[in-house]
């Protein structure tokens, strides 16, 4: 089920959007529209969906319309045309009171410069969302304390925001958004004002919080590394338009145009790409009841010095047999390779980042098996595959 769905969202800033809308539909550029009508195009025909539980990152430079976009989703900015569906309900038709209700229960928002209320202490800040819902004081403070615990700020309830560091303030911002237990988190450049080390910590923390909470998150950033690190999918924006939508790997490996390509050029791919994008199918595998002679032939045919052994029926990984052991067994005249299997083999899952693969490959000269939770073999990682992925700049 799509949690958020934006359909042809357009926002024109200025008192007379009609002419600008018309020009926009004729394909006139943002700059030309501004020069001709004095109206600024904030969003031009933006459509996207966010499935429940996904982190969608909207990435773009300043002026790309990303802030306008996130504010359109809870109608802090009224879109000029287009629709927004939350849980299938069109919220662009809601009246003022319905809109307040929607904001109170469905959304939590986190801001770039924290936007904590300076006259309230930390606990009172976190309980704000519940307070305006008129939740009973005891209950809302309990929930606020829980939210503070979630972000690791127990014991700071009575401090004022100005007494906290930037990173801590943003944790309060996050706790304030989480305290109302919203379905959707709107995060507007939430980590951009933090210094790089803290930012990295917060990104990791968001990821681990998300593993537990499974919120639907719309995250805005101008930092591509952040987008690729956090996002299940990424929407790239330029001049109010969507340039590309895709998973981080799709954006890295298949940039839609030169604009995206220039962006991804400098990204450290080894942190973003995962085993999934570099694995190859194991061309040959051995089975425990194979004859050593057969196994040796399989290895020779692919020039391998070691072969993975899987169970015949369910493809689960048993281990590996080295070429030396197989030749010795042939000389001994063994019937099967069962006794030769060396069970200690490093394995990775398909989500392991390239950096992990590289550190394994440095120590392990054979194929690295990629397995799922049931230890079924998904494929193998070979050194050359990793190198090829890192070297790749253009579409494959």
């Amino acid at each position: 089920m799509e949690k958020i769905s934006a359909v042809n969202l357009t926002k024109i800033f200025g008192p007379h959007p009609e002419r600008a809308l018309k020009l926009l539909s004729q394909g006139t550029s943002k700059d030309d529209i501004f020069n001709q009508t004095g109206q600024a195009v904030g969003l031009a025909d933006v459509s996207f969906e966010v499935p429940e539980g996904e982190i969608l990152v909207v990435m773009g430079l300043s002026g790309s319309g990303k802030s306008t976009l996130i504010r359109s989703i809870n109608r802090l900015i009224e879109p000029t045309s287009g629709q927004i569906f939350i849980d299938g309900e069109d919220i662009t038709t809601l009246d003022h009171d319905e809109l307040l209700e929607l904001r109170r229960h469905k959304f939590g928002m986190v801001f770039q410069h924290f936007a904590l209320f300076p006259h309230r202490n930390i606990l009172n800040n976190v309980e704000y969302g519940l307070e305006i819902q008129k939740v009973d004081k005891e209950l809302r403070q309990e929930k606020a304390r829980d939210a503070l615990k979630l972000v690791g700020l127990e014991g700071w309830e009575d401090a004022k925001p100005s007494q906290l560091s930037g990173g801590m303030q943003q944790r309060v911002g996050l706790a304030r958004a989480l305290a109302v237990d919203p379905d959707i988190l709107l995060m507007d450049e939430a980590f951009s004002a933090l210094d790089p080390l803290i930012r990295g910590d917060m990104q990791n923390e968001l990821n681990s919080l998300q593993d537990r909470m499974k919120k639907t998150i719309l995250f805005i950033t101008h930092d591509l590394d952040e987008a690729l690190k956090i996002g299940n999918r990424v929407v790239l924006m330029k001049d109010g338009q969507v340039v590309q939508v895709g998973t981080p790997e799709e954006i890295l490996m298949a940039p839609a145009n030169d604009y995206v390509r220039r962006f991804v050029e400098n990204v450290d791919k080894s942190k973003v790409l995962t085993a999934k994008s570099v694995l190859t199918q194991a061309r040959v595998v051995a089975y425990p009841d194979d004859n050593p002679r057969t196994v040796l032939d399989k290895m020779n045919s692919e020039c391998l010095s070691g072969i993975l052994v899987v169970k015949h029926d369910d493809n689960t990984l048993q281990g590996m047999v080295q070429v030396k052991a197989a030749s010795a067994a042939v000389e001994r005249g063994d019937k099967s390779i069962a006794s030769l299997i060396q069970e200690k083999v490093p394995t990775v899952t398909s989500t392991a980042p390239l950096t992990t693969l590289i550190s394994i490959l440095v120590e392990w000269p054979w194929q690295v098996p990629v397995v799922d939770e049931e230890r079924q073999l998904q494929g193998v990682i070979v050194y050359s595959g990793v190198l090829a992925a890192l070297a790749k700049r253009e579409n494959i």
Partner: protein, 278 residues
Amino acid sequence: MEKFSVPKLPLDDWIDSGLDFMTENFAFLTKAISKDLKEVIEHIVEGLMFFPPYVVIVIFSLMGWWLAGRKVGIFTAIGLGLLWNLRLWEPTMATLTLVLVATFLAVLVGLPMGILAALSRTAYRLIMPLMDFMQTMPAFVYLIPAIPFFGLGEVSAIFSTLVFAMPPAIRLTCLGIKQVPAELIEAADAFGSTKLQKLFKLQLPLAVPTIMAGINQTIMLALSMVVIAAMIGAGGLGGEVWKAIQRLEAGRGFQAGIAIVILAMILDRLSQKIGQKK
């Protein structure tokens, strides 16, 4: 030249007939208010005079000490002691009462107007020029129409003081609310706050220091106007000055003038600190 002279606009006549009309139709109301207000003022003065001066001096000094520190406390004690010694205690209390009542009324009217001006663009466009008028019109002019409505004496003085001293309370309330950072307003909106919730939970609390600065200004203006209002029989320290002017007694005039300065300084220090203390 005289042949072509343009006839004068009868602006003064218009204003007169306008005021006459209002006097005829509303004076009964304003006179009634005047009577009640006069009683309130008399009660307050009586209350202040009921205690021996040294008790009042001790209370004010302790208040000064608590709010603004030891220095202000000592200054208050010495200043009020001097006024007592100069035999100006009663006029001082009368002036203090007029200032406090006028300030109270100015805040009562000014605060909602300031809030309105901050929240509604239309209200802003109406209120701001009105305040320019109120502030730049020479203060003496207000005294003239006050008399038909409120009669001679304290209430007329308070009315003209109110008009003259209210603008800072309105302006700074408006400013205090408007300068609440837009991103805080946005945060409050994002959580689904109503306008009233935003006002009472965010805008007013954050505007308190600015509003208090406005009230401080109102007190200072009220004090200066209360002296001018002595011309229509307000009494108090202004009355002392007015008598001294009429009799050309420079010493007596300065004595009362110094008393006003001392009172002004005490009120200024105290009212400045009240906002910060909270």
